[in-house]
Structure formats: C-alpha cells, structure tokens
C-alpha cells in the first residue's frame, strides 16, 4: 500500500481541476493579453479566477495578483512594499520560524541596511502578541508573520498581532501558504498575504498575492507590465483557473472533509499516546498537521523506514550532508530538547486520505519505532 502523508509539502491536483486544466491547455490557450477572441476567452477565464479567489479571501478582485507561487509572492510583498515606501531603510519585524522565502529575504534586507527583529516563538511554537508589541520601534515599517507554520502546523495569533500592527500603523504581511485551503481566514486582518497553489490541490508554479488597496507597492521585476504592472510575465491562465476551482471544491466540501481529517488526526494521536517517550511538538495546531518526535529514533531514519513501507512523511531535521538540510530552524527556535529536534517527523494529512490508509500507517509506525529502538 502507498500512503501519502506529506500534504504540507505538496498536494495531488484534484482530478476535476486537472481535467479542466487540460481544456485550458488545449482549447482556451490564447494569451490573455492578446487582442483577439482567443485572447479574450483566456482573459475572461483568468479574471473569473481572480474574482473567485478574491471572494474566497473576502477581498476585492483588484487586490489579488497572480504569481508563480509562495516564494515569489513573499518577495514581491516584502521587497515591493519597502521599495515603494521605505527605500532607504527601516525596521522590520518577522519571526525565527518563517519559511526561508521570508527569512532569506529578511537576511538580505539586513545586508542592504534594513534592521530586522526576529521574534522567538514559545516552546509551543507560536510568537506572542506581547513580544510583537515589545519589538515595535519608532522606525518599524513592516511586519511579516506567517499564518500557520509549515513544520509544526501551529496557528499564529494573527488576529491579535493585526490589532497591534494597526494601532501602530505598521503594514502587516502574512505568508499564509499553509493556511489557505485548510482554515477559514479573513485576509482583511492583514495588508498583504501570500499563497501557493500546490498546497491546496492546484498545480505547482502558481500562487497569488493579496495586497490591500491601501498599500502602495512597486514591482521587483520588469517586463510587459502584466498584473497591473506588479508582476510581469504572461498570465498563467490554467494555474489561476486551477487555484480558483480548487478553492471552490474545498469550500463546497469543507465541513465534511475537515471533520474527516480531524478524526484521522485524532486516531493517529491516540496511537502515538501509547508509544512511550514521544513528544508532540507545538500546540494549537492546524487539523491536518502532526509534528512528533520519538526518543532514540532519528526523524530521518523513521521517515526512511516508513518510506520503505510505502508511506511518505517528512522530516525537518536530517543529516547535514543532505542538500539544504541540517537541524530544523523552527524546532531549534522553540528550544526543544535535542532528541525532540533530531527525532521529529511531520505527518500532514490531506482531504484524500482515508481510514484504511491510516490503519496501515499507525500499524507500520508502531512496528518501525519498536524495531529501530531495539537497535539502540
């Protein structure tokens, strides 16, 4: 049996979405900027997609910009905002647990003369509104706080942080890549928000950025002036259409699907409870995520053993010889014990998982932990 439990890394494109995309590739393939019928058709579908995405977020269509994904959205939001408003420097607040798409931008900004505060999370994996308030300085111009952490699934207190940011006139961006399609969010709590299609059953290579009409922003790359000048590049009509349709499908089935996933998560947690010397990392987590460590078993080793049984989960900490690997910066920032950092695996459920898959997974999980522990 093959079981996919790495939906936080990427998701399978919904069948209906893939089928509709084929039509866009083969029938409605016009360039959305072209001034002929093929182009107009594509443009209509593209703008329909924008309206649907905007509706999902409770914002205006003019506030949605299609991009190539989360990383590009984060870069445009942060760099584009600073370029338009504070090109000569200023103070930015972010967190130690951001995705590299935000963290590396912040580090680059430091090299360019900006000042950055990286908020430390609690041991439970969230940053506190009080710490956010304390970090504010007279020259603070921007904050970038993720909505849901990708490794732990911990939901960050965006609502409280939003209130504080507004009180101080600080523009707030949120990387909501792990939140969109999973939890209902009100994008109006923030001024800018990033999302990535492949995290919610649309394909890779498409994403979007919400920028409130109140916020002035400039492009960071130049070309044909697409997306009202903010993001040049031929419109990815199939990608935009796929995202809108995937969100529509999720909305339609949300109650039933989210309940199902919640129950599957509870089932896994129940089995984990009976395994001695484990630690569930993070609290107030999204219904699809479990980040858990088992003493005397390295996360990479357990993930490999599961993989050899046909089960895909991920590990944040791996041998530093792996490309881009090493210890999880998120779990380190939470100041967990060494075995919790080295032993962590991330199980991320999706709407397409079922009971049979989970029965198989928990059986293999218990068996492999037992086998690997006996080796120590």
């Amino acid at each position: 049996m093959r079981v996919y439990l790495d939906h936080a890394a990427t998701t399978r494109v919904f069948d209906e979405v893939a089928q509709e995309m084929v039509k866009l590739f083969t029938q409605f393939y016009g360039n959305a900027s072209s001034l002929h019928s093929h182009g107009y058709e594509a443009k209509r579908l593209y703008e329909e997609a924008r309206t649907k995405v905007a509706k999902h977020l409770n914002v205006e269509p003019e506030e949605i910009y299609f991009t190539s994904g989360g990383t590009e959205s984060d870069n445009i939001a942060i760099r584009g905002f600073l370029k338009a408003n504070f090109p000569n420097g200023g103070h930015i607040i972010t967190t130690q647990i951001e995705h590299p798409a935000v963290l590396e931008v912040a580090r680059q900004l430091e090299r360019e003369g900006y000042s950055v505060t990286y908020l430390k999370p609690t041991i439970d994996g969230y940053v506190t509104p009080d710490d956010f308030r304390r970090a504010i300085r007279k020259d603070t111009v921007l904050a970038s706080i993720m909505w849901v952490n990708n490794e732990t699934g911990v939901i960050q207190p965006i609502e409280e942080i939003s209130k504080i940011a507004r009180e101080h006139g600080i523009v707030l961006h949120s990387d909501a890549v792990q939140a969109i399609g999973k939890i209902k969010i009100d994008a109006r709590l923030v001024d800018m928000l990033s999302a990535s299609g492949h995290k919610f059953y649309a394909p890779k290579g498409c994403g979007f950025l919400y920028v409130s009409k109140r916020v002035k922003i400039e492009p960071i790359m130049y070309g044909g002036g697409h997306e009202r000048g903010l993001r040049s590049g031929t419109e990815n009509v199939p990608g935009a259409y796929a995202m809108a349709l995937a969100l529509e499908i999720i909305e339609k089935n949300y109650e039933a699907w989210s309940e199902k996933v919640k129950k599957l998560k509870e089932k896994i947690l129940k089995v984990i409870e009976d395994i001695p010397d484990h630690h569930v990392n993070g609290s107030n987590t999204i219904f699809s995520h479990i980040n858990v460590s088992f003493k005397n078993v390295l996360g990479e080793t357990l993930a490999t053993a599961l993989d050899m049984n046909g089960i895909s989960v991920s590990t944040a900490s791996a041998c530093s010889s792996h490309h881009g690997a090493g210890r999880s910066h998120v779990l380190e920032a939470m100041q967990l014990e060494d075995w919790m950092i080295d032993g962590a695996i991330r199980i991320s459920l999706g709407y397409d998982n079922n009971e049979d898959e989970l029965d198989y997974f928990v059986e293999v999980l218990s068996k492999e932990i037992d086998r690997l522990r006996k080796m120590s």
């Binding site: 390295l298 080793t301 490999t304 053993a305 050899m308 010889s321 120590s376």
Partner: protein, 116 residues
C-alpha cells in the same frame, strides 16, 4: 534514492543482536546524532561472531550491518584492511558527500585496537 541492497541492510539487519563478545567499542558523532557500538567475539584472531547497536541515520544503520556482514568469520589481519570503499560497495551506496558511513568503521577500528 536507495538501492535494493541498501534497503535489505537497513530494513532487515541480521547482526543487530546480543552476543557474547570479547571486544567492543563505541563511537559517538553528536553533530550527526549518530552513535554506533560494535561487538566482536574474537577467537584465535578470527572474528567468530559480530554484532552492532546503533542510533543513527539510515546510512549509519545500513553501514553497520554491512561492516558486520563483511567481517564475520574473517581473520583480523584481513579485517584491518576494511575501508570505506568496501562498505560502500556492500551497501551499493556511492554518494561520497555522506561521510556518516564511517561511524561503524571507526567503531570497528577502535575495537580492533584493543586486540592483543
């Protein structure tokens, strides 16, 4: 990423067990999170039995099993020549950036150093 040979070593190790041993040594590489102990029963300079215990990455576990398979029944003069290449061949794993597979080899050398 891993070959069938590697999978056999990692998933079905025969030498991860308790034995009556005459010599043992452990190496710990905290930066990798790896810990390997090799147990040897040496009689008349021949490895009569061998076993390992390991907490480590998949490559360390597979390499530990590979080392045991390569030295079981061998004269210690032959065992002394065991090197990384032999272990990599046994594992069918040739990605040289992973140096962690040296952990069981180092443990073995440490144990052999104790043989009079």
């Amino acid at each position: 990423m891993y070959s069938d040979k590697f999978k056999q070593l990692f998933m079905y190790p025969r030498y991860c067990r308790d034995i009556d041993y005459t010599h043992t040594a452990e190496v710990v590489y905290p930066e990798h999170g790896d810990k390997v102990r090799i147990f040897l029963r040496i009689e008349n300079y021949v490895v009569k039995d061998v076993a390992f215990k390991a907490v480590g990455c998949p490559r360390v576990i597979a390499a530990s099993e590979a080392v045991c398979r390569l030295i079981d029944g061998k004269h210690i003069d032959d065992v002394k020549y065991l090197n990384e290449e032999h272990v990599r061949d046994e594992m069918d794993f040739h990605d040289k950036k992973f140096t962690c597979i040296n952990a069981p080899i180092d443990a073995l050398k440490k144990a052999l150093a104790k043989v009079q």
